[in-house]
Subunit: 479 residues, 2 copies
Amino acid sequence: MQHTGTLAVSPTEALKHIQTILRTQAVERELAERSAGPRHDLQAELLGRQQQGTLWREINQLHPADIAFILENLPLDERHQVWDQVAPHHDGGVLLEVSDAVRGSLLEHMDESEVLDAAERLDSDEIADLVPDLPQEVVPTLMERLDPANRERVHSALAFPDGSVGSLMEFDVSAVRADVTLDVVLRWLRRHGSLPAGANMFPVVDRDGVLQGILPFESLLICAGDTEVADAMRTDAISFHSNDPAADAAHAFERYDLIAAPVVNLHGQLVGLLKVEAVVDHIQDSTQRELLSQAGLRDEEDLFAPVWKSARNRGLWLALNLVTAFIASRVIGQFEQAIEQIVALAVLMPIVAAVGGNTGNQTLALVIRGYALGQVTDHSFRRLLIKETAVGLVNGLTWGGIMGLATLALYQDLGLATVMFVAMVLTLAFAALAGAFTPAMLQRLGQDPAYGSAILVTGVTDSLGFFIFLGLAAVFLTA
Amino acid sequence: MQHTGTLAVSPTEALKHIQTILRTQAVERELAERSAGPRHDLQAELLGRQQQGTLWREINQLHPADIAFILENLPLDERHQVWDQVAPHHDGGVLLEVSDAVRGSLLEHMDESEVLDAAERLDSDEIADLVPDLPQEVVPTLMERLDPANRERVHSALAFPDGSVGSLMEFDVSAVRADVTLDVVLRWLRRHGSLPAGANMFPVVDRDGVLQGILPFESLLICAGDTEVADAMRTDAISFHSNDPAADAAHAFERYDLIAAPVVNLHGQLVGLLKVEAVVDHIQDSTQRELLSQAGLRDEEDLFAPVWKSARNRGLWLALNLVTAFIASRVIGQFEQAIEQIVALAVLMPIVAAVGGNTGNQTLALVIRGYALGQVTDHSFRRLLIKETAVGLVNGLTWGGIMGLATLALYQDLGLATVMFVAMVLTLAFAALAGAFTPAMLQRLGQDPAYGSAILVTGVTDSLGFFIFLGLAAVFLTA
């Protein structure tokens, strides 16, 4: 990436640079404290101050997104040191860009007037994004200070549920009327001095604010000035309802290569504009959340959160894991007698469970993806079930056969080898079913099919694998 | 989502509709075959043909991305039935939009002239995207038919490695010279009839094609016509090298809310344009691939791929899983004597391994995310290691304590309960280390830190958990 402008280095480079300077200073401070000479002390301090001055200037020349990146990746003490030096006009932007997990640690370090100052510089939709994280006592003062129109907008932005188009859109949208000429629009534009950033068209509305179509910017360049907006506008453009799921909008942006789209309320009136930049952020956030949630990290975690906070964030998941593992363990407990007779069962049983868990999770990943992309209909789910079970059977025959032979080689016991083989085939087939049914069940219960399904599937396949393997062994091998 | 234009329904709705019609027809055909009356037969057939005619018309009114979505979600026979009816002018667009896994099944069903016809309608960068999947014998003919400039472009597009900016950019970019006036640009635009889609600026180049800056479209509306491009252009815009990693470009688009950015070669000459639509596709593809690869599905899988193909796609992963499970099993094998004496060990040992695996994978998810976002420096890695180990210890003390008490309640054996407690604490601490070191090691070896690390971490934590628990038991509990 090249920056011909203000950004001389990538954010990762800037981060490394800052880490080096902060660390060198810490070391120098320590050395100075140890050495007795006051002269050396003074020298080091002057040098340190000079370096630091340059550093703060450099940081304030970065884009708020880059400052946010750097703050996220500094441990708490250094983070606060840098945050104190960020210029007030950047504060609001940086607070918007940092992850939810880190925002709290920055707000903690600001007094009320700083928070108010930062928030007041933002747009109403941006303020609405911040409000949930602001200290309770600041919010009423902030709302009071806004003018009535903005206050109204912040309130309605707060009313849109997370994951709706309304929560992603911008309220501040310039629309044009269908019954004016392009010259009127151009005159307005020249007075205004710039086109709305990140859009490629104006929404066109009638007298009541009802959306009529869109006026692409290029019409302003190409059509004659006395053309009416109504004749230059396109009426086949895609628009969204503020209550549409953000995921649907993201798919539409991806499919139809949109840059911006008007958002309307139930009466068809224009209420905002959804821009591709908000959609990109949404896609990144939701996939990152999905990747983390599959490992049981519900919230984004500050890389440098206090240990107890991190432990708590993961505790629920570990507790759920402990419960499923405990159930699997009780399944084994039912076969203590068989294990006492044939200790090899204890040695081999984790293999069945591990490969079963893996198979279940492969099917699971496919089905979750299918739900995310809107691919799973009743018809295709039936087909998918049949196919996945067949794949499970084929893999069971293959790898079960191999494990059967390995068992035979290790223990010279044909009975045990046969039990191993049959158990693998059955477990893998059932695991595929579990991998398909678990997200379908969660979806039907109105839950996110991704969250928690991996641990449920693993729990089921563990218990199943132990039950099938030990059960077969108890029936056919023990006296 | 609202479509005021051609799209009456969402793609998922269209899919359900098509599935219903195709299935109804299949049922009717079967009924007609069974019933003897030739009159009923004819009636049903006429009705069927009429319905089908409407259906094909409706399908061809959809956006190529929607047709692609529908084809991806039909089983092979129905997919070919629909594909046959897609109008030739859509063929190229649909082939570009379908997933790699599905593309093959469509190409198989086309003859050479259809393939050539579809490919020739595309831009050079689009042709380059298709070439790797085209039948070998078609490619030379296709290349011959292209004009020399296009052929050159396809060749250079093919030379860019997957995941580079060059592989995502468009070659066909309209640039303006710095020494002309805005009026010249406007005249050219009016002749041309439209602005480049999906861009918000023109790259500005000098006589040698070296990038000088960008001319935002709004300058054309706002500045006077006799202004020179050099005076209206912005020189602080972000541009990319064609060899830059696509992931870096994606981060930049996300951070700086870009719509389009110029791409240059090593000499600073403009070679293409990177648009946000390509970046969005890249983000979606790579995160979906990451989600699937964590479950061991290396390739995108056609939901309706033949069973043996799917089984093969997952085989390598299952084999790797079998190896790690086998190693863990051999660890247990070393303690057969201990298990013979205390069968409760076999019952309890999977709990230690399961919770250890979970802890390791939580750390893993955080570290992989850190690598993906460029957050992990040497400095922060050390901090992270200390923090994660501490979190592992805290969780080990908590949940190990609970499991120790549960063990005491179940077996009334203080020694066994103590072994359980100590084993959980140690396993969870080591699991956190394994979760941090595994992706770091893969990264240092030049591998993708996400691919394969989950199975490695689980393998290590399983073996470790069994070794620590059974080892402690063997030393302290058995005679």
